[in-house]
């Protein structure tokens, strides 16, 4: 694995669109070629080197390339967009679309991320060591195929619209989440270790939500079924199982209607 280190030296007046910060774009390039990759501020195109110090050369393939990004990235969008392999470590807060449409590899953000991280994600892993904004692991606007695979972990809290239209993969939030979780989801698994507010599983078809803490308001379309013992993310516990959304359409398998499942931990 070869490592390329980027250090931001100029803050953009507006926002920097840096969809070329991926192992895929860097692979096979030397530092002096990487500085020439395009970035955008509004309608103007610049070179990556106009905004970042670049040191180190990339590996021959994306899988052999690691990118470390230093400095304040809170005005930088699209870090790791569409990456297929390799690794990115961002040592700062980052703006929107971290790991959007990601297919493989790993992104670690040692800070908070703004909205739309992991949009339409297909594979790979995103680890956010701070808080995540709204629309984490959600579908892009108008797309009914949201997150399909991969794993997102958040050490802090997550915003609203978590996992909208989720089809597969896993999201684990150690802290609390805001409203609208797994809306329209047809698969996948969301684990919330803190508290949730309202509107969990609205219009949900299939998939699983686990909540370790409280839920302010349960959707009327979720009905209590039974208490069950569950082993989730390495934690064993007794959970109340709800099924829903009863108002939504559902598939049948072997004559049985398949509902989405919501597990809430019963106080130990």
């Amino acid at each position: 694995m070869e490592t390329v280190t980027l250090t931001i030296k100029n803050q953009p007046g507006l926002f920097l669109e840096a969809d070329s910060i991926t192992p895929d774009a860097f692979a096979g390039k030397k530092a002096e070629e990487i500085v020439d990759l395009p970035v955008y501020v509004g309608r103007e195109q610049f070179r990556l080197g106009d905004y970042f110090e670049v040191s180190g050369n990339a590996g021959a393939t994306p899988a052999e390339t690691k990118i470390v990004v230093n400095g304040d990235l809170s005005r930088v969008k699209y870090i790791g967009m569409k990456m297929t392999a390799g690794e990115i470590v961002a040592n700062s807060n980052a703006d929107m679309y971290v790991g959007a449409w990601m297919q493989g590899g790993k992104i670690t953000v040692n800070g908070n991320v703004d909205a739309f991280a992991g949009t339409g994600m297909k594979g790979g892993e995103i680890a956010i060591k701070g808080n995540a904004g709204n629309y984490l692991g959600a579908a892009y606007r108008g797309d009914w195929r949201g997150m399909a695979g991969g794993k997102i972990t958040v050490t802090g809290n997550a915003g609203s619209d978590l996992g909208t239209f989720m089809n597969g993969g896993e999201i684990v939030v150690d802290g609390d989440v805001d409203v609208h979780v797994a809306t329209h989801a047809e698969g996948g698994r969301i684990i919330i270790k803190g508290n949730a507010k309202r509107r969990l599983g609205g219009q949900m078809v299939e998939g699983e939500i686990y909540v370790f803490g409280s839920i302010d308001v349960m959707m009327p379309g979720f009905a209590y079924r039974e208490d069950v013992d569950v082993d989730v993310d390495g934690i064993k516990g007794r959970f109340a199982l709800y099924e829903g959304d009863l108002g939504e359409r559902h598939r049948k398998r072997k004559g049985q209607t398949i509902y989405a499942k919501l597990y809430q931990r019963i106080e130990a």
Partner: protein, 437 residues
């Protein structure tokens, strides 16, 4: 002597009434009286006749006062501001005709602007929901002639669309609705006892901000599944009753307004409302329609829809159209300092945006095109007054049900005043010169 012009279109609200009569002076220069319009519609026509109307562009001076400038100077300032900016915001577009909207879109493309209209603080959330799950809708003519179940959710037409109820939704006698009001069951969902609610057969006084839960409960009730005892402050018996009332109609229509589009959940509320409508079609015929506010906000969505593929919040900065409300919407752009110039036409963000956004407009290079003096003109660097569309110049507008209606000119604009379209055409030509395209 005076003349009476008939079949005039009202350019105020999305109802776009087409039966007004306007009395004008013989020389066609003065508008004297307006018949058939509601109070707010008539006011719009009479406002054009104000004696103290501003008829020439103005530029803000260092000391905060206005200095009159020529239209040529205003074109020059506007074109340069847009051409110099890295990412200008071009906002408004709801109170003008489709012809002007189309020219504006050409400018936006040439300068790499973000194009946004008033849907951004109004029914943009409905447009997101429509893109997510589609919409079974209809025209207002169908409502008048067929609807026997009328549901108003989070809207108050008695005040916002005053003639909507008499022309289309509650009172008119249509082909299959010969009994008028008595043949229709009216349901209102609103946390407040509004004037519209006072006309309802059933008023569900919902707990504020629980619309999404109540929509979901209706869907559960349609399927005959079990409900919790109380949802959104409404007892389950009442919810089953409303579900039955809707299912038993021959044609149900749901009208909804900003009470649901801008309260918590936003697009999700509309998404769920559309799902309710779709479910109802298993039992009867049902349709749903947003109560659009400005008379041609629907048109700007149509024009951009066919030009860019998206109805609002279109980011053209990278040379292709991107659309992501939450990022490319005006208030998010202003709040986050993502734009470096602001152009406003046919809307009043100074009155409708949060204070922080208005402050940003004040800090940036900014131009407003508006016949009126408004809170927006108060914070902009240049104000360009123009002729009133639908009064002093015609042009196409789209009613809330997406029916295009050609508005009419009834009087002349004051001597030497430009229209929106003329001004924009001049700006476009100058922008092309500056950009060398």
């Amino acid at each position: 002597m005076t003349k009476t012009v008939t079949d005039v279109i009202c350019p105020f609200c999305g109802t776009l009434c087409d039966d007004l009569e306007v009395v004008v002076s013989d020389d066609g220069k003065q508008l004297l009286e307006v018949y058939n319009a509601c109070a707010i519609g008539a006011e719009k026509f009479l406002h054009s006749q104000a004696k103290d109307r501003i008829t020439r562009p103005r530029m803000r001076q260092e000391d905060g006062t206005w200095k009159e400038i020529t239209y040529d100077e205003a074109v020059e300032y506007t074109a340069n501001m847009l051409a110099d900016a890295k990412k200008p915001l071009m906002y408004g577009w709801s109170s003008t005709n489709c012809e002007a909207q189309a020219v504006g879109a050409e400018i936006g493309e040439a300068v790499g602007a973000v194009m946004d209209n008033t849907a951004t603080v109004c029914h943009g959330t409905s447009l997101i929901a429509v893109q997510d799950i589609g919409i079974p809708s209809c025209t207002l003519g169908e409502v008048k002639n067929r609807a026997d179940r009328v549901l108003f959710w989070g809207c108050n037409p008695a005040h916002a669309h005053p003639r909507h109820m008499s022309r289309y939704s509650i009172f008119p006698r249509g082909f299959f609705t010969g009994k008028g009001h008595t043949g229709r069951k009216v349901i209102v969902v609103d946390p407040r006892p509004t004037d519209t609610a006072s006309l309802a057969d059933i008023h569900l006084q919902i707990e504020q901000g629980h619309d999404y839960e109540l929509f979901d409960a209706l869907r559960v009730a349609f399927k005959g599944e079990k409900l919790p005892d109380v949802v959104a402050g409404i007892p389950k018996e009442k919810i089953y009753e409303v579900a039955e009332t809707l299912k038993s109609g021959r044609f149900a229509i749901i009208f909804f307004g900003m009470g649901v589009t801008q309260s918590i959940g936003k697009n999700h509320n509309i998404d769920a409302a559309i799902a309710v409508t779709r479910d109802l079609n298993e039992y009867t015929k049902a349709a749903i329609m947003p109560m659009r506010g400005h008379y041609n906000v629907t048109g700007s969505g149509q024009v951009w829809g066919w030009q860019f593929g998206f109805p609002f919040a279109v980011d053209l900065s990278r040379g292709f159209a991107r659309y992501n409300p939450g990022e490319t919407t005006s208030n998010d752009l202003l709040r986050r300092d993502e734009v470096d110039a602001v152009f406003v036409l046919g809307s009043d963000p100074g009155a409708h945006f949060p204070f922080n956004s208005v402050k940003k407009i004040y800090d940036l290079p900014s131009v407003v095109i508006d016949p009126h003096e408004t809170p927006t003109s108060e914070v902009c660097k240049v104000h360009v007054p123009v002729a009133f569309v639908g009064v002093e110049i015609g042009g196409c507008a789209y009613r809330m049900d997406n029916v295009p209606i050609e508005t009419r000119k009834v009087v002349d604009a004051p001597e030497g005043m430009m229209t929106d379209e003329e001004f924009l055409t001049r700006v476009l030509a100058r922008v092309k010169e500056l950009k060398g395209v």
